[in-house]
Symmetry: C2
Subunit: 122 residues, 2 copies
DNA sequence: CAGAATCCTCAAAGATACTG
DNA sequence: CAGTATCTTTGAGGATTCTG
């Protein structure tokens, strides 16, 4: 279960955590392409456990990034969809991902510098 | 100790985690204002433990967001400074934080919707 | 001063089983 | 189908002590 934010702690942090938490971004990415059902999302995100997916969806819903609607057939169908709010965040996320792509080499170089270049020192 | 990225796992995720990890953003924010020393950073971030600060700085350094330089006086002084790479990320972070500010009410409304409005339902 | 090393705890992640 | 419930495991974070 998602936990109620205590006194609505820093919204900034909440948003940033939303972005980072292991599967949130991938799920959000899936839903940008259109509405999807629970098991479809599960199949689309290889390796996610049903518990993790549930938690992820609950939190995204709790914070308004996606919507959840139940279709009362038998057996039931549950459809998840990105919200207007969720979509408005998309370009900013994209900007960060682009930044990561563009600076990939710089980051990797920094990592090699930090850890030492194995092929020379050993 | 920061852990070596296994096969340089998704850079995107690394960057995003960098942004979220409890203190990274605050430390980065401090350093945007100018170089600082270890204990100065500690005092500036009230509540951070020395271990957490060390880990945070190591990771930021390992990924090239900040630089660390030792001044060999006695006792030694260690100065942390934001790198060029770090600065280039700043505007994107700011964009996300601005987004959070601008959509604050929408998120809070979504939260109330999700958890139920206590003053009406109970 | 700027950490490293150690011990400890507790909450989150994973696996498994069950259900309306 | 779309979850909930329960148990176990793991590892990140805190407190404390020690040091070049």
């Amino acid at each position: 279960m998602a936990t109620m934010p205590p006194e609505s702690l820093e919204l900034n942090r909440l948003v940033l955590e939303e972005i980072t938490t292991k599967w949130s971004l991938l799920v959000l990415g899936c839903l940008c392409g259109g509405p999807m059902r629970f098991n479809a999302l599960r199949r689309a995100n290889d390796g996610i456990t049903q518990k993790a997916l549930t938690q992820c969806l609950r939190r995204l819903e709790a914070n308004g990034f996606i919507t959840r609607s139940v279709v009362s057939t038998a057996p039931v169908a549950v459809v998840y969809e990105i919200s207007h709010l969720g979509r408005s965040l998309e370009p900013h996320l994209q900007a960060i991902l682009n930044w990561a792509d563009q600076h990939r080499d710089e980051v990797l170089a920094a990592q090699r510098r930090f850890w030492g270049t194995p092929e020379l020192s050993r």
